[in-house]
Assembly symmetry: C2
Homo-oligomer: 521 residues x 2
Amino acid sequence: MDQNDVTAEQTETRRGRRAGRGRRQVKAYEQPDWRQPRLTFPPVELVSADQLEAIHDASIRIASEFGLEVVNDEAREIFERAGAIVDHSSQMVRFDAELVEEAVKTAPAEFKFHARNPARTLNMGGDWIAYCAIGSAPNSSCLDHGRRTGNRKDFQTFLKLGHMLNAIHIWGGYPVEPIDLHPSIRHLEALWDLLTFSDKCIHAYSLSVERNRDAIEMIRIARGITDDELDREPSLVTIVNTNSPLKVDGPMGQGIIEMARRNQITVVTPFTLAGAMAPVTLAGALAQQNAEALFGLVLTQLVRPGSPFIYGGFTSNVDMKSGAPAFGTPEYMKGAIVGGQLARRYGVPYRSSNVNAANGLDMQAAYESVFSLWGAITGGCNFLKHGAGWMEGGLQASFEKFVMDADLLQMVSSFLEPLEVNDDTLGLDAIREVGPGGHFFGCAHTQARYQNAFFAPMISDWRNYETWDEAGRPDAAKKANEIYKAIVADYEEPPIDPAIREELRAFVDRRIAEGGAPTDF
Amino acid sequence: MDQNDVTAEQTETRRGRRAGRGRRQVKAYEQPDWRQPRLTFPPVELVSADQLEAIHDASIRIASEFGLEVVNDEAREIFERAGAIVDHSSQMVRFDAELVEEAVKTAPAEFKFHARNPARTLNMGGDWIAYCAIGSAPNSSCLDHGRRTGNRKDFQTFLKLGHMLNAIHIWGGYPVEPIDLHPSIRHLEALWDLLTFSDKCIHAYSLSVERNRDAIEMIRIARGITDDELDREPSLVTIVNTNSPLKVDGPMGQGIIEMARRNQITVVTPFTLAGAMAPVTLAGALAQQNAEALFGLVLTQLVRPGSPFIYGGFTSNVDMKSGAPAFGTPEYMKGAIVGGQLARRYGVPYRSSNVNAANGLDMQAAYESVFSLWGAITGGCNFLKHGAGWMEGGLQASFEKFVMDADLLQMVSSFLEPLEVNDDTLGLDAIREVGPGGHFFGCAHTQARYQNAFFAPMISDWRNYETWDEAGRPDAAKKANEIYKAIVADYEEPPIDPAIREELRAFVDRRIAEGGAPTDF
């Protein structure tokens, strides 16, 4: 399957162009340097303190009176030892406010998330924001070859794109599922790809204890550190979706335990689509989300006090006519913002997402995404999952959308950069010099600053209508298609210590030879 | 030119469908009822109080030391009488902080904007938001017939659309310029169309004293009120762009005077594109914007203390490679938010816009628009100009974009609706009833609420990929095209008292017979 091949010719052209840099640099794309944005103003508070407490209280009633079904013996035992009311035959766990308040005391508000490349290590929590690539799509797509089942080649192409794009800070799961890798060994080869095609922070799926432990060992090897060092330095994230309503399956529960035990990062994200897996009323969906997220918070802190936990919010709604999930809706925005208020109530970092339900690269894909970003960012999101590439409610990872989203994320980062107000930026001398009816193009103040004065997007086409018309009326999707191919053509593997690479490969080969992990899920 | 004709057949189908309503209503579009949204959380503050004062201080220095060129004798005389330093030969006006602080004392923070139909009267200022249709595009466009020069037929089609769409509260100028109406009588026929095709709040261009006075008389007749009543009730808005930098032309200056004299609404919006008509640094562009807007504020209050004034912010940037204006950029968002802070400093309502620079109906058109909305709405915008239909930096009014924007605006309004938190919405009984692993579709709590639980967009296509694929993969633009035609087919003229209609037409006919207004601008 060679759908995404960039031809040798194209690569040659790019290389030639790059070699020819000098006096005047002509590139198919320019992007800002790597950096991590911060929320420079207070997050929006959509509900009052009293309303927030009412949601909290309702979730405590859910947790303590109704309980959660926890299909994991060890997790139930941990709760039982901590004083929760556990019924092992019905698998129900009931926990109260006291356990939550104890967990709040030890869960860190901020921590470092270590990447293989120290320059890619991130700050999690506080006012810091980190963007993930899309995770877990079963299908990939591009304009040239359409939509197809996920495969390793497309998976690797996403790794190239996300490695090259500075907007991407974290691999939040496989951008697209490499279906052609057998499930028993998929995690090994996919993590190998993640750790060699890129040097950014990585994620591991909690699909079995073996998979969690393989991932932990692989990031330890890749970072070239000891077990003790790893236990001190969060270097891996897992995202656990509860089976809403009120259910935690075995591997997910086990994943929380395995990761917390090694001081690695757990994001617990209830999958609370209002009207389907949660009440049709947003307050109820959020109360349920909160009860399920608090289960994760408490479990991580019972396993290892102080281990890093991120509160995940994913509440959206369904189309009540069809039951189809909807994203980037007004309800999604509200849910994203109140989710942030809840996470801050417990003093832990907050995860939200850049999502949409569009099938194609149209205006809907864009407006639902930006509405999602609006909710997530103004809601105080620290960990933005599905930041780039998500389409079709998560069923499709698009190369073009990936590039466009990277552009949107950089716009958000630029928006969040503090506005400088000083004598220099107030520019009174320039205003005096130019005078009434003049223009600023030629003045010294402009000439000294124009090259980096404004954010320069990759995609937006600001040519006038006539020029654009003569150029064949390219739309944003077409531009994104060209840029994605140019980026892939420019891709270079990040450096890795050959000894580490060898050790990592040997581990993968050994585990593959052992048969990988059980596939009975 | 019959480009936008909806065929008689189509109209028949719609009518038939409407006649057949009853058991099951099938409509091409559904929309929320008419209502005016409010900002339910505090606006974002992007700069500190100190920084805001630094921008204010810089703008006072611009106004008092550099001055503005005011190409209008009466305006200069008004400033001179108030103690400003005026040089009639150079036409420069220098005014100080004292005049600004005096104006701040009398300019109203909130007021009513009266429509011909009292049910369409609006609250301006405070936390109220009102959406305008696009104003002043020289070209119109639709998917069926492409882009063309503005004409009265397209103008009227926009009036039908905007009248039918509940998201539109105000006509902020002609959606597209009816070029085929001679300039001498264009304002008369266009205002006639505005006042008969629709019953919503209207705008008049300040292009000459005659045009302002004709518009004032026409809204007086249309509302069936006396001159005294009109002087008490703002019923007309004019939007004045300064000729940035630091210049006010004759008709614009006169427009402010004419409108303020009759207690009608003036929006003064400096056209400060950073790097072209304003400093390349955002703080400088905002200081200049502020100086120019304050000129308008002071003039309205000198003419008539207490007359309604709206602070207009339009600061954006240009593409420094080409000089092309850019909209919906990070700089635009920042400018929109700080503009709101400035307006609130002076205690007056704030105008911002929903803008983009896209040539076609692609992802760029959508993401730049939603970024604009993000800046405007979280910045505390009270009067959203170009709310629906704007494309191509204002050079193109699109029927499809108009419908899509109306959908976006309704999404914003829905987002701004307070989230209800009470026993009913927390839905604990439903959560208990459904239990772990269940679903909420069928429970009583859902059944009682599902029909109106969530915002239902007109455009977004939430069908699954396969169904969408079989339907021919319609994109958002195509859907918007269908809906715009369905709305136009459903259009019905709003009622008007026959005597008023007759009086209004007689006025238009008399003024046309008199030759309309001079065209020497």
